[in-house]
């Protein structure tokens, strides 16, 4: 059975701190890993990673994938209260007709002023 495990489940930090969120996975025929940010409503897309060792960056957020060790990390530097959200990791399998994602339970990040 495919599994996506995120840790920690919950994290509370102060503004300005740097956080690292973890996502490990066990899937057959891995294709890509996606990170989403979910505030009160729908998840919004952050990154898609397919290759090992290549960092994706967007402002204070960055992510990297390790396909050998089957995990990814999402880093947020100089956190702000607006970063408070649930961060979801999802994995897509390869295959011509496979367009589904397996989601982890998410990490709830709370950034206090």
């Amino acid at each position: 059975e495919d599994k996506v495990v995120q840790s920690p489940l919950s994290l509370v930090v102060h503004e300005g701190d740097t956080v690292t969120l973890n996502c490990s996975y066990e899937v057959t025929n891995f294709r890509s890993l996606l990170w989403y940010k979910q505030e009160k409503k729908a998840p919004t897309f952050l990154f898609m990673l397919t290759s090992s060792g290549i960092e994706k960056k967007s402002g204070r957020l960055s992510s990297i994938l390790d396909k050998k060790e089957l995990f990814s990390i999402l880093n947020i530097t100089a956190t702000q209260t607006g970063d408070s959200a649930v961060y979801l990791c999802a994995v897509k399998k390869s295959g011509g007709s496979n367009y589904k994602l397996t989601f982890g339970k998410g990490t709830l990040l709370t950034v206090n002023p």
């Binding site: 996606l34 409503k41 729908a42 998840p43 007709s97 367009y99 589904k100 994602l101 339970k105 998410g106």
Partner: protein, 115 residues
């Protein structure tokens, strides 16, 4: 980004009522999905469609049904709502971009409360 619309955004309804949650998208995406998400819990895929007249059940068993008569619309119906159906329902589409880039975009969701 995909433009995905869901109505209603919030619905409070009594047990036994029939309800339809609407989802529409303007990007012409073939692949559409319905997820169910309870508060603080993970997303569970309940239905998906890879095109007109194509629908499949997802990983989580659901008493709801879906239809895909037009590319733009993917409505979800509950024939007889029960309190156990109380949840957030998220509609999504799949976009494939250049060089194999692909992702799933989500609508704003419908929060359903069945009394």
């Amino acid at each position: 980004e995909a433009d995905i619309y869901q109505t209603p955004r919030y619905l409070v309804i009594g047990t036994g009522k029939k309800i339809t949650l609407e989802c529409s998208q303007t990007m012409g995406h073939d692949k559409m999905y319905w997820y169910q998400q309870d508060p603080g819990m993970e997303l569970h895929l309940i239905h998906y469609s890879y095109g007109v007249n194509s629908t499949e059940k997802g990983d989580l068993s659901s008493e709801s049904t879906v239809s895909r008569i037009r590319t733009e619309h993917f409505p979800l119906t509950l024939e007889s709502a029960r309190p156990s159906h109380t949840s957030q329902y998220l509609c999504a589409t799949w976009e494939v971009g250049p060089q194999g880039w692909e992702t799933q975009y989500f609508g704003p969701g419908t929060r359903l409360l069945v009394l």
